[in-house]
């Protein structure tokens, strides 16, 4: 993997009237990376993506794709980009194949063979000549991926790609993106409001809140905060005794009985084995220990220092 920068945002700002929707975004994405935009609804993910692909004008700053400015060199910049903006809306009255022909005609150098290649890549061979209105959501999504890959883009942009997909579909898409970055060196920019999804998919994430960039970090930092407290759910009996014992133990916060036989605690990961040893020494029966993955909101409160979420 080279260090070539595929996409670069410089002080990108979007204002509508007096409202600043996107405020001074600056970041680079190197070749071959899967880069995620994470943020609650209304944080500005979709607006940012639409500015990157030129659907929305940029008030200030610039977007460079392979060094080409999307505003002033639109045709040269956009030919490196394949995208699905929200759900892939195709011409429903055309067949899947006709839809692909339609997009192929708009880019120089897409042969008939390439169309067939992409169709088999997304495994739509059997249904490609059916009208799109007869497709299931998953099939439409795959056709969306096909149109995005048709012209061998260097950069793939997916806005909320997993919206409406079932778990199998999400998994398929994820594996597929991994495959693309590994084998073809494609760079992927993807947005989502689901933390769990981003954990599994991305290399790095940018966290957006109120149109501002809160942080850019490797996804591991987001997931297992070794230096941060996590919530654990203990299935133990008798719980009254457990609570007493836990409250005396150092390094445990917020002991709370959620229901009979279940206790929730906040503690550091490193403490967990010690706590279990202590409980066993007290002859407490342990049925299970479970890390409670925190919701995005909680995660956000932490990262943004308790600020209110849009």
């Amino acid at each position: 993997m080279s260090n070539e920068t595929i996409i670069s945002l410089r002080n990108v700002t979007k204002r509508i009237g007096r409202t600043t929707i996107i405020d001074n975004l600056t970041f680079d994405v190197p070749k071959g990376e899967i880069f995620g935009f994470l943020g609650p609804n209304g944080a500005g993910k979709t607006t940012t993506i639409r500015m990157i692909v030129g659907l929305i004008s940029i008030t200030k700053g610039e977007v460079l794709i392979k060094g080409k400015n999307i505003k002033t060199e639109f045709e040269q910049a956009i030919r490196h980009v394949g995208a699905i903006v929200e759900s892939p809306e195709m011409y429903k009255y055309l067949s899947g194949y006709q839809n692909l022909v339609h997009y192929a005609r708009m880019v120089p150098g897409v042969s008939k063979e390439r169309i067939d290649e992409v169709v088999s890549l997304v495994k739509l061979e059997n249904r490609i000549h059916d009208k799109v209105k007869k497709y299931s959501l998953g099939m439409r999504q795959r056709l969306g991926v096909a149109q995005a890959l048709l012209h061998r883009p260097s950069l793939l942009i997916l806005d909320e790609p997993t919206n409406g997909l079932d778990p199998a579909g999400i998994r398929e898409l994820r594996d597929y993106l991994r495959h693309l970055t590994r084998t073809e060196g494609i760079t992927v920019v993807v947005s989502s409001h689901l933390l769990s999804e981003m954990e599994l998919m991305c290399d790095r994430v940018a966290i957006l809140q109120h149109g501002k960039l809160v942080d850019v970090m490797p996804v591991q930092h987001l997931n297992h905060g070794y230096d941060q407290e996590q919530t654990y759910l203990l299935q133990v009996e008798p719980s009254e005794q457990v609570i007493v014992a836990l409250k005396e133990f150092d390094g445990i916060n917020g002991v709370k009985r959620t229901q009979e036989g279940q206790v929730e605690i906040n503690t550091m990961r490193e403490q967990v084995p010690d706590i279990l040893v202590m409980l066993m020494e007290n002859k407490i029966r342990i049925y299970g220990v479970q890390m409670v993955s925190r919701s995005l909101e909680e995660r956000f409160l932490e990262i943004t220092g308790g600020g209110q979420i849009g």
């Binding site: 639409r50 692909v53 030129g54 659907l55 929305i56 004008s57 639109f74 045709e75 040269q76 956009i78 030919r79 980009v81 995208a83 699905i84 903006v85 929200e86 759900s87 892939p88 809306e89 195709m90 011409y91 429903k92 009255y93 055309l94 006709q98 022909v101 339609h102 997009y103 005609r105 708009m106 880019v107 120089p108 149109q147």
Partner: protein
């Protein structure tokens, strides 16, 4: 650019509704001409045309005897009589009861071409917005201007296809009803300086088509502008067809105002200059063309500005 027009054509002709419109066009031509033929064209066939022309001449001579006849009407009837006399003298059949009677009459159906093209146009830009396909369309290496122009060209092609349908259907239907016998009949008319001339009927027909086509293009351009401005098919189709029908009524009400001659609707019908009865005194063909060109440029400029500048947010 050719590819973009191919794309737009694919989006037009791969839809059932487009073929319903074309089928309706053909059906209208068939229906109207059959009714026409059934009600009076049938009797006019055969060799009775001489006596009919003589009858007409007699009627008009009676009218000319009226003392309070206006100057314009007097000239009109005098000219008609002279044209009829030419027919009789040279033994050239009048169009009554021939294929041309129906074919020329069918040119009035061009208003249907306007309506049907407006339907396709109104949906073309707005439909891409409402279905969301506009997003995938605009993230290709083709500028918005090129996409807009390709759409516009595809509408003109569609209008021409309807015109061709009209022409072929009217020739076929009337040929079957009246027989193809008088295809080479000349058009007898009188020039402005009182000369009687024979002209080619087919050329004259296409001249009528083209003059009416100007009005179609104007309404289509208007629908296109509304479609790009409001991104609503219903609004584009409704407004444009409304204007098409209400235009004449509004113009009648405004006729006494001098400035009304600058309005679009006062100029769309260029055939008014052929008949010599323009909307207001002093309007010439070049005046109307000038006004139409300005409207045409303004409409297209607005479409272009709105389509290329505005954000695609929804």
């Amino acid at each position: 650019m050719v590819n973009l027009v191919l794309n737009e054509n694919m989006k037009i002709y791969r839809r059932v509704r487009t073929w319903v419109l074309i089928g309706l066009m053909a059906a209208f031509v068939l229906f109207v001409n059959f009714i026409e033929w059934h009600s009076d064209g049938k009797e006019a066939q055969g060799d009775g045309w001489q006596s009919k022309l003589e009858q007409e001449n007699q009627q008009w001579s009676e009218i000319l005897k009226q003392p309070n006849l206006g100057e314009g009407d007097r000239i009109f009837y005098q000219q008609r009589i002279e044209v009829n006399n030419y027919h009789l003298k040279e033994n050239i059949r009048s169009t009554d009861g021939t294929i041309w009677d129906g074919v020329n009459g069918s040119a009035n159906l061009m208003i249907i071409i306007t309506i049907f093209t407006i339907i396709i146009v109104g949906d073309s830009v707005a439909g891409e917005f409402s279905s969301g396909t506009i997003k995938l369309l605009l993230i290709r290496p083709a500028s918005r201007s090129k996409i807009l122009v390709s759409k516009y060209l595809s509408f003109l092609l569609f209008g021409m296809l309807l015109l061709l349908t009209l022409f072929i259907m009217s020739v076929l239907v009337n040929g079957i009803l009246y027989g193809f016998g008088y295809m080479d009949l000349p058009l007898i008319s009188m020039t402005a300086d009182g000369q009687i001339v024979e002209r080619n009927m087919v050329l004259n027909l296409w001249k009528t088509y083209m003059l009416n086509g100007v009005s179609t293009v104007m309404y289509v351009t208007m629908a296109f502008m509304i479609s790009s401005a409001f991104r609503s098919s219903a609004m584009a189709i409704g407004f444009s067809i409304g204007a098409l029908f209400a235009g004449n009524i509004i113009m009648e009400a405004l006729q006494r105002f001098d400035w009304s001659k600058y309005l679009l609707f006062a100029n769309t019908n260029l055939t008014q200059h052929l008949s010599g009865h323009p909307y207001q005194e002093g309007m010439t063909l070049s005046f109307s063309i000038g006004v139409l060109v300005i409207y045409f440029i303004v409409f297209n400029l607005i479409s272009w500005l709105l389509f290329t500048r505005r954000d695609v947010a929804a």
